[in-house]
């Protein structure tokens, strides 16, 4: 299960989601812009409040760290 926590206008979030789409990786897009509960969920998972955050089966990646994401997804 892959979740991407993002805000609407964050350019890194857009690029990250495009990267996953290009690799045919299915993910749930969690827009935290207007939902403080979802924001808290993201903060609890990542210990910080910068977007994007990716949750790959419980492994958390902060920011668009392409190499780490590719490694976790075995791309």
């Amino acid at each position: 299960m892959i979740k991407v926590y993002s805000t609407q206008s964050c350019p890194y979030c857009v690029t990250l989601k495009e990267f996953l789409k290009a690799k045919d990786i299915a993910f749930e897009d969690v827009d935290v812009s207007f939902d403080q509960k979802l924001q808290q969920e993201m903060i609890d998972k990542s210990g910080q409040m910068g977007v994007p955050v990716v949750d790959i089966d419980g492994q958390i990646v902060v920011g668009f760290d392409r190499e780490k994401i590719a490694q976790l997804l075995k791309l």
């Binding site: 805000t7 206008s9 964050c10 350019p11 979030c13 935290v32 924001q39 409040m49 910068g50 977007v51």
Partner: protein
């Protein structure tokens, strides 16, 4: 493969340099970390003619698409680590100058000429707590992180357009915004200043020096000193957005080209030529007074046109 031209950078300057190189059919490689520049992090761009009120992200996507319409070699997701110069040939007049560009992943590429459009990165305050709280209240991207400050008090450091834009992004969410400017005036556009005032949420403070960003797990306050009274005040804020300008990214060139005291590459205003033959520079990494999307794009065009003339001359000589 020895390219005619390597362009370093994927912001407005690099993309425009690439478009001009493609139209001149130069055998070009463009190396870029991404195609954001600093523009994609700007909420709204309203001074690019023909595209009123476009978001920075949308403008950059359209730039990128335009570039990729051309048959140009692109190495994306790559950061340049080092540039080296090699000269070959014993007869000085027939010296062949060659540039080797090494990227952080270890690969190297070679070209006869370079156009450097490596841009700039956000300047930090350099105070206690800043690094510690990055992502925990300290942010350099209001567009990305503003939603986390719903009904909270925040501080924005700076008084230029970027700081005013950040305060405007935050005004959509935050309860109150302290705009902390170190000098006694705001450099940002009067139009933006008007918009800020209309939000009714912004307290503009001049002559404020940020001393420390404080908190436990997350930012809780910021210590500011008034430059005149020398009084320290603790402002209770959950976020500090740092928008105090930019530092040019030119370290990978080492001492190859002349730079000014700010680290900006010194480029001829007419041609973009640097102090080293075969190297041109454009955009926010050069010593140009105004940093604007349109000026970056223009300087990218100028640099490639000038490099094109040089490459033609090389061909004639050899």
């Amino acid at each position: 493969m020895l390219y005619d031209l390597i362009i370093i950078g994927g912001g407005p300057a690099g993309i425009t340099a690439g478009i001009y190189a493609a139209r001149k059919k130069l055998n070009t490689l463009l190396i870029a970390k991404d195609f954001f520049g600093q523009t994609a992090k700007t909420g709204e761009i309203d001074n690019w003619p023909g595209s009123p009120n476009i978001s920075g992200g949308a403008l950059m996507q359209s730039f990128e698409k335009h570039l990729k319409n051309f048959a140009i070699n692109i190495k994306e997701n790559q950061t340049v680590a080092k540039v080296n110069l090699t000269k070959s040939g014993s007869n000085s007049e027939l010296d062949l100058v060659k540039f080797t560009v090494r990227v952080e992943s270890g690969e190297s590429f070679e070209a006869k000429a370079l156009v450097v459009c490596s841009g700039a990165s956000p300047r930090k305050l350099g105070v206690a707590g800043e690094d510690k709280f990055i992502g925990k209240g300290v942010s350099f991207c209001s567009l990305c992180d503003a939603p986390f400050f719903q009904d909270k008090n925040v501080a924005v450091a700076g008084g230029g357009n970027s700081a005013l834009e950040a305060a405007l992004d935050l005004a959509k969410y935050a309860n109150k915004i302290y705009l902390l400017e170190a000098s006694d005036f705001l450099r940002g556009d009067p139009l933006l200043q008007d918009s800020l005032k209309r939000t009714g949420k912004v307290e503009i403070r001049f002559n404020q020096e940020i001393k420390e960003i404080q908190g436990k797990a997350m930012v809780e306050s910021v210590a500011v000193v008034d430059r005149f009274s020398q009084k320290t005040e603790i402002l209770a804020v959950s976020g500090v957005f740092v928008e105090i300008g930019w530092t040019p990214q030119s370290d990978f060139l080492g001492g190859l080209v002349s730079k000014n005291e700010r680290g900006e590459i010194i480029a001829d205003p007419e041609t973009g030529q640097t102090s080293l033959e075969g190297v041109w520079a454009a955009g926010d990494c050069i010593n140009a007074k105004y940093k604007q999307v349109i000026l970056a794009a223009a300087s990218g065009a100028r640099a490639t046109l000038s490099a094109y003339e040089y490459l033609n001359k090389l061909k004639d000589e050899n």
